[in-house]
Symmetry: C2
Subunit: 304 residues, 2 copies
């Protein structure tokens, strides 16, 4: 719990409620008063537990937050979450549409609707709020938004509309291969060998089919050549990101790319895109998420 400002009482609560974590911010308009985070993610809760968990976590702020609304985004709105916030179909304005949770007496709770694409099928839930935050900070953005992570999203955004998007399982594949596959004996994922990353990424981008064979080569190179574990981890990261970039080349080629993600991942994506002649802009995750939730709060503020 971090106290950032104590001038006036908060008037709403922002929530990023994903599969593994719940992040809460007590907000005073667009300013953060207090924030906290816990591991009570959607993945471990039954529908009946969301309300009590939310109120218990809000109580931990240790100040009077009675009755003020919560604006939430993320997997809390999935079918397995607290209340289903239905997907809106592309093309659509990413600025957040909310549903209100029924039967939560303590306060009004609103959840952002996800976005779906029907052909080819794809879904996002949570990222739409970050993209709304981007539009709040950079009106008229025309380009592609890349949100690297477990399921990286590439989103074509133009004239305030998400035209189409593509998800890639790069983060999850990296974790599975690095932690659960035969490569786990071979890889260290704490450090970073930029030369190894760059080389593998360029190889995969130039010839993604052949890169598939590069996975087991990491194990063989460790056995035969004592490949350094950090270099092996960076090569795996490079192969997967290069592969992903090859898969979505039609989205990023010749466009500006806004990167929303962890600094480490955003730097890797920015590095490769830059090497391929693409200008990138970094948008740190927390401020952009709050900007999106704030814009959503303003829409309900008008009628509450």
């Amino acid at each position: 719990m971090t106290a950032l400002n104590t001038d006036a009482p908060p008037d709403w609560i922002a929530a990023d409620w994903g599969t593994t974590h719940l992040r809460l911010w007590a907000m005073r308009g667009g300013e953060v008063a207090l924030k906290r985070s816990c591991d009570q993610g959607m993945g471990r809760l039954t529908p009946a537990q969301f309300g009590p968990v939310l109120e218990a976590e809000i109580a931990q702020f240790g100040m009077d937050l009675a009755g003020i609304p919560v604006i939430a985004c993320g997997m809390v709105g999935s079918r397995q979450g607290w209340a289903e916030a239905p997907y809106r179909a592309t093309p659509t304005d990413p600025r957040t549409k909310l549903i209100q949770v029924a039967n939560h007496a303590a306060r009004p709770v609103y959840i952002a609707c996800g976005i779906r694409q029907d052909a080819p099928p794809d879904v996002m839930r949570g990222e739409e709020t970050q993209i709304a935050g981007l539009l709040a900070q950079t009106p008229d953005f025309d380009g592609v938004v890349c949100l690297p992570g477990t399921h990286t999203k590439w989103v074509r955004l133009r004239a305030d509309q998400i035209e189409r998007f593509q998800s890639c399982m790069t983060g999850e594949l990296f974790e599975l291969l690095a932690k659960q596959s035969v490569l786990r004996h071979t890889l260290d994922t704490d450090g970073l060998d930029l030369a190894a990353f760059d080389a593998a990424c360029a190889e995969a981008l130039a010839d993604p089919a052949r890169a598939y064979g590069g996975l087991f080569q990491l194990r063989a190179a460790a056995l035969l050549d004592n490949l350094d574990p950090t270099s092996a981890g960076s090569r795996l990261s490079g192969l997967l990101i290069g592969w992903e970039l090859a898969a979505v080349r039609d989205l990023w080629a010749g466009r500006t790319v806004a990167l929303i993600g962890s600094p480490k991942l955003a730097a890797l994506y920015g590095r490769v895109l830059g090497a391929n002649g693409v200008a990138t802009q970094d948008y740190p995750t927390e401020p952009i998420t709050l900007a999106g939730l704030h814009a959503a709060w303003q829409t309900i503020g008008a009628c509450s």
Copy 2:
């Protein structure tokens, strides 16, 4: 334990000792007298345990097998196994070279050496014995041997030499994605939807880069279109096998392919290769492994 023949005493024991299992056959020349299998694989044993485990398992045959030699292949010969049977470098004759385990008083135990390729780095251990078995059954084979499995091998074999080979992690990737990733909610891997397999495999082979995006689409199609779990599992299998075939096209294109693997997997690979104009020949795993171990036994028989 299955009794197949009781005419004369066995004169050697064949062993396929991999990461997860130990398979033993009491052999009378080229004929199986008895066989058994257990889960005492290399992965759960310390070096000192291999000898006692082997003798305990042989004792379970319930017949006099005292002193006759064991010929083993597989991960038992790895650095983490019983005794390291060093890799031989390509190009090399795949017919088995053996090392003898030191300090096992009960009987002579021989382990087949694996094969390595230095550039690009690759290794096999166990498959060399199956390829030796193929050569015993089909002398002068000129083509490519495909051994689908956890780490599928594609091996160029000509004039009794392994010229080069390529491993692909297709089987392991399939298991990780089907059982551990977000796709686990979406897939059933028991059944088979051949139309879904064929379509996904053709897509991935035609455009492997784009196929990368097809992974998360399986989840999205389940959420949005209620994609049938069996179809989703078959699509995943098709995407990965198509991807692999694209990665090793230079190996199989225009050549005869010998398939050594489980009937189900071999049938899938044979189906796709056939659709791409490649003739395949099936070699069931157990007979080909025994043929390779038998050929190796004959080499030590001459000097024991």
